[in-house]
């Protein structure tokens, strides 16, 4: 049940993603690229959980994972905001 449930969630999310993203106009494709990239930084959740792993190797993996994911999240959202700030209507 669990596995199928989780697969269902995945499939539905793909549908949602497809429908929502096709509505983004070409004007905003560059911000979309960097914005959706920032969202992929959600792996930061996994990275935080990974620091729980015991042992030196685990610790280091966790630290690097947190650094990587944080770069992705912070940089991604900030640069997207910087771009979107520039879009103005007369």
């Amino acid at each position: 049940m669990d596995m199928i449930n989780i697969l269902t969630v995945f499939i539905l999310a793909i549908f949602v993603g497809f429908e929502v993203i096709t509505k983004v106009p070409p004007t905003l494709h560059t911000p979309l690229m960097s914005g959706s990239n920032a969202i992929s930084g959600i792996s930061i959740v996994g990275a935080i959980i990974a620091t729980h792993v015991s042992g030196t190797l685990g610790t280091w993996l966790g630290l690097i994972a947190v650094i990587f994911a944080t770069i992705n999240v912070v940089g991604g959202f900030m640069v997207t905001d910087r771009m979107l700030k520039m879009f103005k209507r007369r």
């Binding site: 995945f10 990239n37 992929s40």
Partner: protein
């Protein structure tokens, strides 16, 4: 601890709403903010909801990562956006891979190995590590190519495809081994990591620098898939949904770029475009071209009533976005109708021209897309082509032998006069000659886009 999933789902729903708001420039900025809030919720929920976290590590990670990310985000030039996305992307994929590795370490480390981890666990872990690592190294090669650290030319050699095929086969073998052969699990897993890293390099290195945006967009999709795979490992709905959203976004953008370039994805990845360019350029037919000075161009513009500017990659290279806005504003002040024609794959990134012109404060309602603007050329006095080439090549309409035949283009040649600014007669990205330059109504104005436009503005004012 079950309730924590509610927060992840909330975060995912906020991502969806954020992406929905990206469908209009007016709401887009708030959409990005909403998505960022979703991320914050997911992070806080994790920090609060999970026991035994190493807060020392986490805080160091946040500070180091946050600083690096913020500095990148503030410093980057708008023209360097593709590189920027590539590098962020690489870090995202890397993080997913590391999460998978850490899970492997917990579940399969000799110490923990009382029970053999389940096939489900191993399969999803291997998947997330493979996709994540490949995204990591691939993205850095793409970054290096665009930044000029690595040659932008396709790096090809005999037997390259065979080598890649062998690497891929080995990878599959070790992946299956990790899941099925507990005895050698550790070594097989290590081999998977190393092979994925190598494959990320060898798959991207033969692709030309100009094709990098497509590759980056594809790697963007992969980083989403890696995050989703990590979600399957951790049974975390938030990761799965977000990963799926990013995957869909990356694939859609990849597809749009391929369509705009009139090539298949296979051709982009395995085609090694950029090699036969010299040959094609050499076969150029004799053309009679007219070359005018900016002063003469100014007089033509002065007499026009309706002017359409057509920016291309050259405008971005020359950083001439402010210069073109000034010329356009000046002409508009003189009572002329002015608009910008934006081709979907002008530049080197989807929506490249929009961001560039937005930076120069051009209001987005003056930017017209292909379908909207093409009928406008018919009664347009002057079309001003600025560093664009392939996207205005009429061969796409009629020359069946042209590699870009069938690609939708901006019909600038329908305008009464076409002013074309570029530095030389060299071809553009596709490496093919452009017959437009020899048309009767075409006039070349050679020079760097920024300098030319600045001179043009002076000349206009002196008329």
């Amino acid at each position: 601890m079950e309730y924590i999933n509610l927060f992840y789902v909330t975060a995912a729903v906020l991502f969806i709403f954020g992406l929905k708001r990206l469908s209009h420039p007016r709401t887009a900025r708030s959409g990005n903010l909403i998505a960022a809030i979703g991320m914050l919720i997911a992070i806080v929920a994790t920090l609060v909801g999970y026991a035994h976290l190493d807060f020392r590590l986490i805080i160091i990670g946040f500070i180091v990562g946050g600083l690096i990310g913020a500095i990148f985000a503030v410093k980057v030039e708008m023209t360097a956006m593709p590189q920027m996305v590539a590098i962020f992307n690489g870090f995202g994929g890397g993080a997913s891979a590391l999460v998978g590795m850490a899970e492997f370490y917990t579940k399969a480390a000799p110490a923990a190995l009382q029970a053999h981890p389940s096939y489900y666990d191993l399969t999803t872990i291997v998947l997330s590590v493979f996709v994540g690592t490949l995204t990591f190294t691939g993205s850095f090669v793409a970054f290096g190519k665009l930044q000029g650290f690595i040659t932008g030319k396709p790096v090809v050699f005999a037997g390259q495809k065979t080598l890649n095929a062998i690497l891929a086969l080995l990878l599959v073998g070790f992946a299956v081994g990790t899941v099925l052969v507990p005895a050698n699990m550790m070594w097989y897993f290590l081999a998977v990591i190393i092979l994925s890293a190598i494959l990320g390099v060898t798959l991207v290195i033969p692709i030309g620098g100009a094709d990098m945006p497509v590759v980056i967009s594809l790697l963007n999709a992969y980083s989403g898939i890696a995050a989703a795979a990590a979600g399957f490992v951790l049974l975390n709905n938030g990761l799965i949904i977000s990963g799926a959203l990013v995957g869909a976004s990356g694939l859609i953008l990849t597809n749009i770029m391929c369509k705009g370039m009139n090539r298949s994805l296979t051709n982009v990845i395995f085609g090694a475009v950029g090699l036969e360019q010299e040959g094609a350029a050499g076969a150029q037919k004799q053309m009679n071209i007219k070359s005018y000075s900016t002063e003469e161009a100014a007089m033509i513009l002065d007499a026009a009533e309706k002017v359409i500017f057509v920016p291309g990659y050259g405008l971005a290279v020359a950083q001439a976005q402010h210069a073109v806005r000034e010329v356009a504003d000046y002409l508009e002040g003189k009572g002329k109708t002015v608009m910008y024609a934006i081709h979907p794959v002008a530049g080197r990134m989807p929506g490249h021209m929009n961001v560039l012109l937005a930076e120069a404060n051009v209001p987005y309602n003056q930017l017209k897309d292909l379908d909207e603007v093409n009928p406008e050329f018919e009664d347009c006095d002057v079309a001003v082509v600025l560093g664009a080439n392939d996207v205005v090549n009429p061969a796409a309409r009629h020359d069946k032998s042209s590699p870009i035949y069938g690609m939708p283009i901006l019909n600038v040649d329908k305008a009464r006069t076409v002013l074309i600014n570029k530095r030389t007669m060299n071809p553009g990205f596709a490496g093919i000659p452009n017959e437009l330059f020899g048309y009767d109504n075409s006039i070349m104005v050679f020079g760097d886009a920024k300098q030319t436009l600045q001179q043009l503005l002076k000349d206009l004012k002196e008329l």
